[in-house]
């Protein structure tokens, strides 16, 4: 099939996945423009105590921009770095910091997808004359004639499934996006990278949050707020049990996340877990592992994909964090922009700030933010 007249912007991070996307689309005859989003200055906080120097293997490190540029050179495609650092800080980093400070556990990747990758980058792509945007995400999308809607579906390689981070896409965004890796598994992608002559086919996957080298978010909060000339608000308070008994004190709610076991500073006979963070009272509720189990959650700021809106209760598989096996549940409306999700069996550590995403088989029905 020839795609000679279609221009596609490829979001290139310098990693194996997006580089392979660029190479494959070139082979398929598209006109390709490579774009790298410069989102964060990796050296920015490196002078602060405990923050490691920028590490290789994440987007926005200088090395990765070199890698992306090298791939673009090799493929002979035009390539540009688009700077969105201020928007990234405003739409992703700030909310990330504020979520932690108010006792929730945020997922910046979804915010980045919603506000930067599929919003700003798609606008830029269209402005520079590309009809479509291709990314290296492991996901599939297709137009469903019957419902007249664009569907987001799980990829062939379930172990790399990134649909959880993509539930916030709009119909417009889905209609203009290509996920060329949706039908491939990771070893195949590396094989294709090698076949098309990309020297980075063995480059390791990136795992952590891109702006937190080393993965220590507490050090990041300290360093970022210090740089901003702000103090971490004093949210120190009590560690309490479910019955209200005070078993200790803590130095601030941002140090905790639901399900956490280490670092509580309380010695008891049986292991203790964080069950709940009461942001308003600065209380951290602790208890036994089985107390982490819960059957219900509420979610807000919903986005529906395969359906226009939720009218009647529906049966789904609901996923409450990236590494969670989606579990059978019923979703029903509770007010204008809120749903109640009731699982058939109790789920462990439902965490405010994370997303809940609803699946019907491979199809993403929609999702929202756990409150």
């Amino acid at each position: 099939m020839s795609h000679e007249n279609q221009t596609v912007a490829v979001a290139m991070s310098g990693g194996v996945d997006s580089s392979t996307v660029a190479a494959l689309l070139c082979e398929r005859g598209y006109k390709i423009i490579g774009l790298t989003l410069q989102l964060w200055n990796q050296r920015r906080l490196s002078s602060h105590d405990g923050m490691p120097e920028a590490v290789q293997g994440r987007c926005c490190s200088i090395d990765d921009v070199y890698d992306a540029r090298h791939v673009a050179d090799k493929l002979g495609i035009p390539y540009y770095v688009v700077n969105q650092e201020s928007r990234f800080e405003h739409d992703v980093v700030r909310p990330f910091v504020e979520e932690y400070l108010s006792g929730r556990t945020p997922i910046p990747c979804s915010l980045c997808n919603n506000h930067l990758k599929f919003d700003q980058l798609l606008v830029t792509a269209r402005q520079i004359g590309a009809d479509l945007l291709a990314t290296g995400h492991y996901a599939r999308n297709e137009y469903d004639e019957r419902s007249g809607r664009w569907l987001l579906k799980r990829p062939a390689d379930r172990s790399k499934d990134q649909t959880y981070f993509l539930f916030g896409l709009t119909q417009e965004q889905l209609s203009r996006t290509l996920f060329p890796l949706g039908e491939m598994c990771k070893p195949e992608v590396r094989e294709e990278a090698k076949r098309t002559g990309l020297r980075l086919f063995e480059k390791p996957d990136s795992q952590e949050i891109c702006f937190i080298p080393g993965g220590d978010y507490k050090k990041f909060l300290d360093a970022y707020l210090e740089e901003q000339g702000e103090e971490i608000p004093d949210t120190s308070g009590e560690l309490v049990t479910t019955t209200g008994e005070v078993v200790g004190t803590h130095s601030g709610i941002h140090n905790f996340t639901v399900g956490q076991r280490k670092g509580l500073g309380v010695a008891t006979g049986s292991p203790l877990y964080v069950l709940e963070i009461r942001g308003d009272k600065h209380q951290v509720v602790v208890g036994a592992g089985e107390d982490l189990l819960s059957c219900t959650l509420r979610a807000k700021k919903l986005n529906w994909l395969s359906i226009a809106d939720l009218r009647e209760p529906i049966r789904v598989h609901a996923k409450i964090r990236h590494r969670h096996e989606a579990a059978p549940a019923t979703v029903e409306k509770r007010g204008d922009d809120e749903v109640l999700v009731t699982f058939d069996a109790p789920q462990r550590a439902i965490t405010p700030g994370q997303a809940v995403v609803f699946y019907e088989g491979d199809v993403v029905v929609g999702g929202g933010w756990i409150c």
Binding site: I33, Q38, N41, P78, Y80, V81, V82, N83, E85, S86, V123, T124, R126, Q127, I128, G129
Partner: protein, 386 residues
């Protein structure tokens, strides 16, 4: 695809005559200008001829020219060569980063630096300068022609103020050379920076005019090259190219080529302003170099526009080449009062000797089409128009 290059303030293509002058230096005339033998003497004579050519461009003595690797080195040599910890320096908010960041470094090593504000055209007020001078003031460094808007500072008046106060005066004239006449005697400056590649010479070559009697501490130590002011074997082809470029630049003031450039720039600017709504010319109304126009296209992302134009065959930039990929909007445009959004929506078009009327027509055809497409997709523009 037709390609038009209107980014000559970033760098300009080598003129064929300049290349012809340089060519022998790569082959038969390759000697080290410090050597005693024939090859060395040949090179020495080529270097000294270039020194005369550059001296003529700025009306100084050849001995007052120090060859450097370019504008950044010239600026750094002027500042770090003259200023010591404890000294006070006056500069402006709209300097090139080669001066601005050198001044930041001077502050770190214990110098006082005053950054003069500018008006809506990016001009320094000479009265502000007068008021900023204090007993410990050692140096005034003010850019001659701004690289982003092309605005020309009142260097003659600044030089007079500096001379009367007995303070050294340095000017970065990298963007002025070849575009407006330069006379170091008229402007009474002590130090003046030039770069070859902004006037159709090679990259990596430049010069610093150092008035006789101005003692500079060198930055590079080694042999006694350049009268012990800049050690290192001379960049022979670069220096010869700079000399030839300076000679041709000087001819430009009498052979009509500067006027031709000014006419092309005016035609481009006038027709963009006439043909597109919500645009404005930055530093309009102030004296400017004849090759530069900096235009704000409201409600646009300059970065996206540069890419879109590049893909259609036109090379322009959002401002200083060194700022591309940086987070901050242009410090020059914000210093003259533009909001960050309007600074980001500004594009610089800078013409060179190679540009033709047909080039400008191509650009005038392309710009409206690209601006319309970008604005159609801009959420901000839709709101403003409504």
């Amino acid at each position: 695809m037709r390609r038009v290059y209107l980014d000559n303030n970033a760098t300009s293509p080598l003129l064929p005559e300049v290349f012809e002058a340089m060519k022998p230096c790569f082959f038969e005339k390759f000697g080290n200008a410090s050597s005693i033998h024939q090859q060395g003497q040949q090179s020495r004579s080529a270097v000294e001829q270039a020194r005369e050519q550059v001296a003529e461009l700025v009306n100084c003595r050849p001995a007052e020219i120090v060859f450097t690797s370019g504008g950044t080195e010239g600026d750094n040599l002027a500042l770090f060569g003259l200023v010591k910890p404890g000294d006070h320096v006056i500069t402006s908010a709209v300097e090139h980063h080669a001066v601005l960041n050198a001044c930041r470094r001077l502050e770190e090593i214990g110098c006082g630096v005053t950054y003069l504000p500018v008006d809506g055209c990016a001009l320094v007020d000479p009265d502000d300068l007068r008021r900023a001078i204090r007993p410990g003031t050692k140096l005034i460094s003010i850019i001659f022609a701004n690289n982003e808007t092309g605005v020309l500072q009142a260097v003659n008046e600044i030089g007079k103020i500096a001379a009367e106060a007995d303070v050294y005066f340095h000017t970065d004239a990298v963007q002025a050379a070849g575009k407006v006449p330069i006379d170091v005697k008229v402007m009474r400056c002590d130090l003046l920076t030039l770069a070859a590649h902004k006037m159709h010479g090679p990259q990596g070559a430049g010069a610093l005019y150092v008035r006789k009697g101005t003692l500079l501490q060198p930055m590079l130590y080694g042999g006694r090259h350049e009268r012990s002011r800049r050690a290192g074997t001379e960049n022979l082809p670069g220096i010869v190219g700079l000399g030839k470029a300076a000679e041709i630049a000087r001819q430009g003031f009498t052979d009509g080529s500067v006027e031709r450039l000014a006419a092309l720039r005016d035609h481009l600017e006038n027709n963009i302003v006439k043909g597109i709504d919500q645009v404005g010319v930055n530093s309009a109304g102030a004296p400017r170099v004849p090759n530069t126009t900096n235009i704000v296209f409201d409600c646009l992302e300059g970065e996206a526009m540069v890419i879109a134009l590049d893909l259609k065959g036109l090379s322009v930039s959002t401002g200083a080449a060194c700022s591309s990929g940086a987070i901050e909007p242009s410090h020059v445009l914000t210093a003259m009062g533009l909001s960050p959004d309007r600074a980001r929506a500004s594009l610089r078009f800078s013409l060179g000797k190679q540009n033709t009327a047909a080039d400008v027509d191509f650009v005038l055809q392309l710009i409206p089409e690209v601006v319309t497409r970008l604005r159609d997709l801009s959420p901000v523009y839709k709101k403003v128009v409504r």
